[in-house]
Amino acid sequence: MPMPNTPFSRSDPPDPPPLITVRGLTFYRGDRAIFRDVDLDIQRGKVTAIMGPSGAGKTTLLRLIGGQIRPHAGRIEVDGACVHELGRRELYQLRKRMSMLFQSGALFTDLSVFDNVAFPLREHTRLSEALIRILVLMKLEAVGLRGARDLMPSELSGGMARRAALARSIALDPMMIMYDEPFSGQDPITMGVLIKLIRTLNDALGLTSIIVSHDVKETASIADYIYLLSEGSIVDHGSPQTLERSRSAWVEQFLHALPDGPMSFHYPAAAYAQDLSLAQEPSP
């Protein structure tokens, strides 16, 4: 059943060199291996999706790529630099060019929407306030929140907060964006707009995008390449078309949302009956 873990074994062309290469990634939380010897590549200028069930380690993978946590083994290279070997200064230089949209949005609650989007510009550039205003309004217009610029994060709905955070994460025109669950909590219209937005941003600005999601249909509709993650390893990967045609049981289960299959919905646990103490004790 185990799939070969070699990203080049399928259809993708070898050049140009990938923006991110992950080799032999191993990472533990306590005794539990979140990743076991994972290899993957993120191609430049493409939208790559990483899908997998809840708790599979998708957010953890993004944090590893962003250098917030260190792998226990393996290498993660972003644009030729090994993230976890960089000093803090170099890591921060690299991070100015990468950007991450957090699952929760993570807006600064003491700043208005406008100031949130302006934050990275004010921290990292010496632009005049007038220019910053223009840039911020452009970013907010792109996510449809120009009118909400004076609201505080506590006054936004979950979906609006996510979009405001998206505006903030594109403020510095990064070379890549990592989206953690961009679609959850969005209504169908906003979802459509977001899908188009992610695609447009990617193509117009020449970005590289990584989408982490379990919204299969939406993600498959914009992704150029998909990795399926389950129980610590990549169970399959390929373009949406290839995966659609794949006969793999994982793909079957995940893409078609079947409750039964090789992927478990349960966090690893002792046998149910044993947990409920039914196994040992005779029933009364």
């Binding site: 917030q68 100015k96 990468m98 957090f102 993570a106 807006l107 609650t109 990292h124 510095l172």
Partner: protein, 260 residues
């Protein structure tokens, strides 16, 4: 017995571990100071929330403590016919001990707990992670400004506490109990020394207390477990630990400055 020893050992290790982490934290905090020096406005904004917003409670408490000192001092001195030294008693107790110590304890309850909760909540809601991913160092942007602002605020608050306390003592002694106003002030003037009492007492003590109180408050927030219980635990720890450490450090400083 063995169990008790084991528990003692474990909690000692736990505290040593925390002390180590707190020390590393402090070192990184200090290494972020040059960056902060380029943008003092960050600390000034914090000075408002830890300093200005603590003013009412500090001034009110100072007033009451001064008034109590006036009453108690009078009740004790009147038997010796020494009520004219009341000014000196009030001023010395406030400047040497009560001003800096009580201001620090009130500061821990009012501003320290708020700092811990704010930072802990920023951690819980991933705002600090988001900041790091934006290549902004929370040490320079969040922790250091609060730490520095707190250290600046502390002596100012202790000074205000002391001054208002003296006024409170004056009010009770002179206005209510009829102590001679001239004696009250002149006794104070002739016995309270600028260097020995005001600098050592109000200034140095409260700078040290400010250092301790803000180090604990910011560290507890930074180190909080990112959940609601984690934050509530961290906030409690800030107030309890700051109070204990301030009182212990006060004993040491008093022995150094005023011991014979």
């Amino acid at each position: 017995m063995i169990d008790g020893l084991r528990r003692l050992g474990r909690s000692t290790l736990f505290w040593l571990n925390r002390l180590g982490r707190a020390t590393l934290f402090l070192l990184r905090l200090l290494s972020a100071l040059p960056t902060l020096a380029k943008r003092p406005s960050l600390a000034i904004r914090q000075l408002y929330s830890v300093g200005v917003l603590s003013l009412p409670i500090i001034a009110m408490s100072g007033l009451f403590v001064g008034m109590v000192l006036g009453l108690q001092g009078y009740a004790n001195l009147v038997d010796f016919g020494a009520t004219s030294s009341l000014g000196r008693v009030v001023a010395l107790s406030l400047a040497r001990e009560l001003g800096p110590v009580l201001a620090a304890l009130l500061y821990a309850a009012r501003a320290g707990s708020a700092l811990t909760a704010e930072i802990g909540l920023m951690k819980t809601t991933e705002q600090l992670s988001a900041m790091q991913m934006m290549a902004v160092d929370p040490f320079a942007r969040v922790y250091a400004p609060r730490f520095v602002a707190g250290i600046i605020a502390m002596p100012l608050l202790a000074g205000i506490f002391t001054a208002v306390g003296i006024l409170g003592g004056y009010f009770v002694a002179v206005q209510q109990l009829g102590v001679d106003s001239g004696a009250f002030w002149s006794q104070m003037q002739s016995t309270v020394k600028l260097f020995d009492d005001v600098i050592n007492g109000v200034v140095i003590k409260s700078v040290v207390f400010g250092w301790v109180a803000n180090w604990i408050a910011v560290f507890e927030g930074y180190d909080a477990i990112p959940t609601s219980e984690g934050i509530s635990l961290a906030t409690t720890r800030t107030v309890v630990n700051t109070s204990l450490v301030v009182l212990a450090v006060d004993f040491v400083l008093t022995a150094l400055f005023f011991g014979v």
